[in-house]
C-alpha cells in the first residue's frame, strides 16, 4: 500500500509574499470602496438606494471579463508553447470568471427587481451574459474530459480561444441591440456619471480587479499543485514498478 506521493518541493499553502501584499491591498481597497459606496456617497435621484447594488454589479462584470481574458491569453500560449503552466492559468481564469459572471447575474436580478419590477427580462445584455456563463461552463467541462493531459489542454485551448468571441458580444450587446438595459455606464470617451457615482464605480473596479487577480493566482497555484501531484504520482508509480522488476530479476 503506497501513500500519495507529494513533491518534495511542494509548498504547504498557495500564499507568497506577492499574494500577501496583493491580499492586503485588496482588503484596504474593499474597505475604502464599501465605505464610500455604501455610506458616504449619496443615493441616486432616480434609482434611490438600489444604485449601490450597481456599484458592485458593474465591477463584477468587468472582473469576469478579466478572468475570461486570462483564459484567452493562457489558451493562446498553450497552443504556442504546449505549456502546462498556461493551461492551469487559463483554467484558473475561467473558473474565477465563471463565478463572477454568476454573481453578475444574481446582482443584476436583485437590482432589476426594484428598478424594472422583475428579476428577469429578455434583455440582450442579460441574455448574452447568461449565455456567456454557459459557454464557460462548457469550457470547464472540456477541461475535465477523460483524455491525456496534453491532448485535453490543447482541446480546451481551442475552445477557450473561440469562446472568447462571446465576451465582446456581451460587452457591446447594449450598443448592438436597442435594449431595455441602460447604456454602458463606464466608457473611456463618454460617461453619464460624475462626482460620487463615478468615484464609487472607479473604486469598485479597482477593488474587484485586485480581488480577481488575487483569486486567479491562488486558484492557479492550487491547480499547479494538483498537476505536480499527478505528475509526481505517475513518476513514483513508474519508479516503484521498475524497482519491483529489478528485485524480481535479482531473485
Amino acid at each position: 500500500m503506497t501513500s500519495i506521493a507529494v513533491p518534495p518541493s511542494a509548498p504547504e499553502h498557495t500564499g507568497s509574499r506577492l499574494t500577501r501584499v496583493l491580499g492586503a491591498a485588496t482588503a484596504v481597497s474593499w474597505v475604502v470602496w464599501l465605505t464610500y459606496g455604501l455610506v458616504l456617497s449619496p443615493a441616486d435621484v432616480v434609482q434611490s438606494e438600489s444604485v449601490r447594488l450597481f456599484y458592485l454589479h458593474v465591477p463584477l462584470a468587468l472582473s469576469a471579463y478579466l478572468g475570461f481574458t486570462v483564459t484567452l491569453v493562457g489558451s493562446i500560449l498553450v497552443l504556442r508553447k504546449n505549456s502546462a503552466f498556461w493551461d492551469q492559468m487559463a483554467g484558473a481564469g475561467a473558473e474565477v470568471g465563471l463565478v463572477l459572471a454568476g454573481l453578475v447575474l444574481v446582482t443584476g436580478a436583485l437590482w432589476g427587481r426594484p428598478t424594472w419590477g422583475t428579476y428577469w427580462v429578455w434583455d440582450p445584455r442579460i441574455t448574452a451574459t447568461t449565455l456567456l456563463f454557459l459557454v464557460y461552463l462548457g469550457y470547464l467541462v472540456v477541461r475535465r474530459l477523460d483524455l491525456d493531459a496534453e491532448v485535453r489542454a490543447r482541446r480546451a485551448a481551442v475552445f477557450g480561444i473561440v469562446a472568447f468571441i462571446n465576451v465582446p458580444i456581451t460587452r457591446y450587446s447594449v450598443q448592438i441591440w436597442n435594449s431595455l438595459h441602460q447604456e454602458a455606464t463606464l466608457s473611456l470617451t463618454d460617461t453619464e456619471m460624475d462626482g460620487s457615482q463615478l468615484t464609487s464605480f472607479a473604486l469598485g473596479a479597482i477593488a474587484m480587479a485586485l480581488f480577481t487577480t488575487w483569486l486567479i493566482i491562488h486558484r492557479f497555484r492550487v491547480g499547479w499543485l494538483e498537476y505536480e501531484l499527478d505528475r509526481s504520482g505517475l513518476e513514483s508509480a513508474i519508479l516503484e514498478r521498475r524497482g519491483e522488476r529489478t528485485a524480481t530479476e535479482v531473485v
Binding site: L79, T127, A128, L131, L132, L134, V135, L137, G138, V141, V142, L145, D146, L147, D148, E150, V151, R154, R155, A156, A157, V158, F159, I161, V162, A163, I165, N166, I169
Partner: protein, 233 residues
C-alpha cells in the same frame, strides 16, 4: 501543401456523401426531423394567435426564429453523425495515421455538414412558406443570409464537436458546447432573415455582415485549430 489538403478534403467529402447516400440518413431521419419541428411549432402556437389583425400571422412573424432553431438543432444531429461514422470504428485514427491532414478532415466534414444543412433548409423553408404563410421580400438577401449562416453553423458545429470527438458522453456534451456559443449566430440569422423576408428594418443588413464575419471566423478557426483538436483522437 494547400493543394494536398484541399485534395484530401475533397476525398473526405466524396466519401461522406457516398456514406450518406448509401445509408439515407438525411432523407429518412434529418429531413423528417425538420418537418416534425415545423409541425410542433405550428401546434405549439395557440390557433387563436395564428391569425391576427395586421399584415402577418404570429407564426409568420416568428418564422425566421423557428426556422433557425430547427436548423441549429438539426446541426447537432448532422455533426454528431459526421463524427460517429469516423470514431465508432477508429477510422479517424486510421485517417490520421495515413497522413491525412487534420484540417482536411475537419474541412471535409464541415463541407458535408453544410451541404446537408442546405438540403434541410430548402425543405424546411418551403414548409414554412406553405404552412406559416411566409412571404419572401428580398430573395437575394435571403440567399446571402442562408449561405453565410450555414457556413458559420457548419464551421462552428464541426469545430466544437471535434473538441469532444471520441469521448464518452459526447452526445450530451456537444449541445452544451454548441448551443450557447451559437446564440449570436442564431440571433443574427433571425434578424437578417426577418429583414430579407419582410424588410422589418431590424438592423438586418448589419446582421448579414456580422453573419459573413462569423462564417469567415469559424472557418479560419476550424482550419487553424484542426491540428490541435485531432492530432491525438
Amino acid at each position: 501543401m494547400i493543394a494536398a489538403v484541399a485534395g484530401d478534403a475533397a476525398r473526405i467529402v466524396a466519401k461522406d456523401l457516398r456514406i450518406e447516400r448509401a445509408t439515407g440518413v438525411i432523407t429518412t431521419q434529418i429531413l423528417p426531423f425538420g418537418i416534425v419541428m415545423l409541425l410542433l411549432f405550428g401546434f405549439g402556437v395557440d390557433p387563436a394567435l395564428q391569425v391576427r389583425g395586421g399584415d402577418r400571422s404570429v407564426l409568420a412573424e416568428v418564422a425566421p426564429g423557428l426556422f433557425w432553431i430547427t436548423v441549429l438543432l438539426a446541426l447537432l444531429l448532422v455533426v454528431g453523425r459526421a463524427f460517429a461514422v469516423e470514431s465508432d470504428d477508429g477510422s479517424l485514427d486510421a485517417l490520421l495515421v495515413a497522413g491525412v491532414h487534420p484540417a482536411a478532415i475537419l474541412g471535409g466534414k464541415a463541407v458535408v455538414v453544410a451541404a446537408e444543412l442546405v438540403v434541410l433548409e430548402l425543405v424546411v423553408g418551403a414548409g414554412a412558406v406553405l404552412m406559416f404563410d411566409v412571404t419572401i421580400g428580398d430573395p437575394l438577401h435571403l440567399v446571402v443570409v442562408m449561405v453565410s449562416t450555414t457556413v458559420a453553423l457548419a464551421g462552428a458545429g464541426t469545430l466544437f464537436l471535434a473538441v469532444v470527438a471520441g469521448q464518452r458522453g459526447r452526445d450530451t456534451l456537444g449541445p452544451l458546447l454548441v448551443l450557447p456559443a451559437m446564440a449570436p449566430v442564431l440571433i443574427g440569422a433571425t434578424a437578417a432573415a426577418g429583414d430579407a423576408l419582410y424588410g422589418a428594418g431590424s438592423g438586418g443588413i448589419a446582421w448579414t455582415w456580422a453573419l459573413v464575419a462569423f462564417a469567415l471566423l469559424y472557418s479560419v478557426a476550424g482550419i487553424v485549430g484542426a491540428g490541435a483538436l485531432l492530432e491525438d483522437v
